[in-house]
């Protein structure tokens, strides 16, 4: 009973979705939420699996020699001076997949978080170059600031003109609610230092540029696609739910995991397991992030955790994704008994 490839990829994508939405959170305002947000996102996007939708968005829109804008940045810089451990690892794993397909990753984050993103990019084997040089250097990227001020709108116009991206990706990047106020995952208004990446996605929407959003709480860019569900299922969702939608939305237990899931699905579609990083890479990523002053967002501590989860758990997730991808590449296997 040979399965056709579409059926196989649908099974693989569903399992990637399942493993990246296994919830292990320590906050009352996060427990029991992500399965509901994921189900709402599946329903809003024609049945999913969402990792596959994200992967196809990436594959269809990464063009050799052309830029892809990827952005991250969450947390209050007073408590997280260099950002957190959720966001940068997922961002650079996605960026490396962009580079692997010949695209030029342009990474955008708050100016104080740039060192963290740079260290994490290098840890995954992605060089960091000036934006003018990056297109000429394979396996490299550029990292630029997102303005937190009133010039953010103008800056977004400039970036889109300068880089002419074929795709915009947001992972763990906070977006404002319909009243224009962005909130933390617990529903507190964010500090003034928040990079206003929403202008990029507003412009992308008005110009018909493809967009992908990944998040884990409902306050991140992309969740505008299911704002009603965020308000219904997420504590303080009526405040923190962002208005900013993306073409494809991938909710996950931790935003990094959503990014890894998208890349795992790309690896399965393209039969390129090398696109996905290894558990050893994951350890390097988290260490690099923390060594660059990144903070575990759940506890606020400078420890090797992501959203309250140990490094071992994160490496375990990557091991499972690799297992799912590698198993999908075995075709026509027949057991002798």
């Amino acid at each position: 009973m040979a399965q056709d490839n579409e059926t196989l990829l649908s099974i693989v994508g569903r399992n990637i979705d399942r493993v990246t939405t296994v919830e292990m959170r320590i906050s009352d305002y996060s427990r029991g939420v992500i399965a509901n947000l994921h189900a709402a996102a599946v329903s809003a996007q024609g049945g999913g699996p969402l990792s596959m939708l994200g992967a196809r968005k990436m594959i269809d829109n990464i063009k050799p020699g052309r830029s892809v804008i990827l952005t991250t940045g969450a947390g209050d810089p007073r408590f997280l001076p260099a950002g957190e451990t959720d966001g940068p690892p997922g961002l650079v794993v996605l960026a490396r997949a962009v580079a692997a397909l010949g695209g030029v990753p342009i990474l955008l984050t708050e100016a104080p978080f740039i060192d963290n993103v740079r260290a994490t990019a290098i840890a995954i084997g992605l060089g960091v170059r000036d934006a003018d040089m990056a297109p000429s250097v394979p396996w490299s990227c550029a990292i630029l600031p997102v303005s937190a001020d009133n010039d953010a709108s103008r800056q977004a116009e400039d970036y889109l003109t300068r880089f002419d991206p074929t795709l915009l990706v947001s992972i763990e990047k906070l977006g404002p609610n319909p009243e224009g106020i962005a909130h933390t995952a617990s529903g507190k208004p964010t500090a003034d230092g928040r990079g206003r990446a929403e202008h990029l996605f507003d412009l992308a929407a008005s110009r018909g540029l493809p967009t992908l959003g990944i998040g884990d709480n409902g306050n991140e860019i992309g969740f505008g696609l299911i704002l009603d569900a965020v308000r219904k299922f997420k504590p303080a969702g009526d405040r923190l739910g962002t208005r900013v939608a993306t073409d494809v939305l991938v909710p996950a237990n931790t935003s990094n995991w959503g990014g890894y899931g998208v890349v795992a699905a790309m690896a399965a579609i393209l039969e390129r397991p090398d696109l996905l990083h290894t558990p050893e890479d994951e350890e390097r990523l988290i260490r690099a992030c923390v060594d660059a002053n990144g903070v575990d967002g759940s506890t606020g501590r400078h420890i090797l955790q992501v959203d309250g989860m140990s490094m071992a758990v994160n490496c375990g997730l990557v091991a499972m994704l690799n297992g799912i991808v590698r198993a999908s590449l075995v075709k026509g296997f027949k057991r002798p008994f």
């Binding site: 903070v295 967002g297 071992a312 490496c315």
Partner: protein, 243 residues
């Protein structure tokens, strides 16, 4: 007090795994009276001897619960089948001798009102009669291979080991004893001990560090997941300053 019930040929890997996880295997009397770990009840290899053997187990050991994991049960035609529906008994059997059917040790519990749990990953394992319709619908040749033996509680899972670990984790959560969950390092010892004692990885039929064709590291990762789910949910909820 756990009593492992299987044939002699499975004894070495079962005992090796048990010891690797920290449960020694002693005689029934030692295990019961001195709390020295687990005991082993060796199943007969001749089908005709099974009824008396089952009666003896119930008389002497007086089980309070019977759990089956990855133990094949007979289909509706009375024959045990592999996951690909090859018969393991009778004239067309796909092996050199009839595999003994020890399901009476399971069904006897049901007759006596003793609770049963069945864990499996294909539908041919003890317990899957409970969801026969789903096995017939989902599994190739499901109508043939599905066992006719039901369980009070059936836990289907990706691989049978993982179902056991899931119950272990749920138990740890309910009892608020996260230390009940074995660690990823324990899992590595567990799998390697099983392999070193002659257990096979049963997809490619190798002695590689893997289970059902999946790298052992993935089973270790499952333990990281289960442990984190339990531990994170036993922690009191926090509202971080930062988030």
């Amino acid at each position: 007090m756990p009593v492992y019930v299987t044939e002699e040929c499975h004894a070495d890997p079962v005992i090796a795994s048990s010891q690797a996880i920290g449960v020694m295997v002693k005689t029934f009397a030692e295990a019961r009276d001195r709390h020295l770990g687990a005991a082993f009840a060796t199943a007969p290899l001749v089908q005709a001897e099974v009824p008396a053997w089952v009666a003896k187990i119930y008389d002497e050991m007086k089980p309070k619960m019977v759990i089956s994991t990855e133990r094949l049960g007979p289909g509706r035609n009375g024959v045990i089948h592999t996951a690909t529906a090859l018969p393991l008994q009778g004239p067309d059997k796909h092996c050199e001798f009839d595999v003994v059917d020890i399901s009476p040790v399971f069904t006897e519990a049901t007759k006596r009102g003793i609770p049963t749990i069945g864990i499996g990953d294909h539908g041919n394992e003890l317990g899957f009669e409970t969801i026969r319709a789903a096995v017939e619908k989902s599994m190739p040749k499901g109508a043939t291979l599905c066992t006719s033996v039901a369980a009070d509680i059936l836990l289907p899972c990706m691989m049978s080991n993982w179902g056991c670990y899931g119950i272990e984790a749920a138990l740890a959560y309910l009892l608020k004893r996260p230390e009940l969950i074995h660690s990823a390092a324990d899992e590595e010892r567990n799998i390697r001990a099983c392999l070193n004692a002659g257990g096979l990885e049963a997809m490619y039929c190798t002695m590689d560090f893997s289970v059902d064709g999946l790298d052992g590291e993935i089973s270790m990762a499952v333990m990281q997941f289960l442990s984190a789910i339990v531990r994170k949910n036993l922690e009191s909820g926090t509202v971080g300053l930062t988030h």
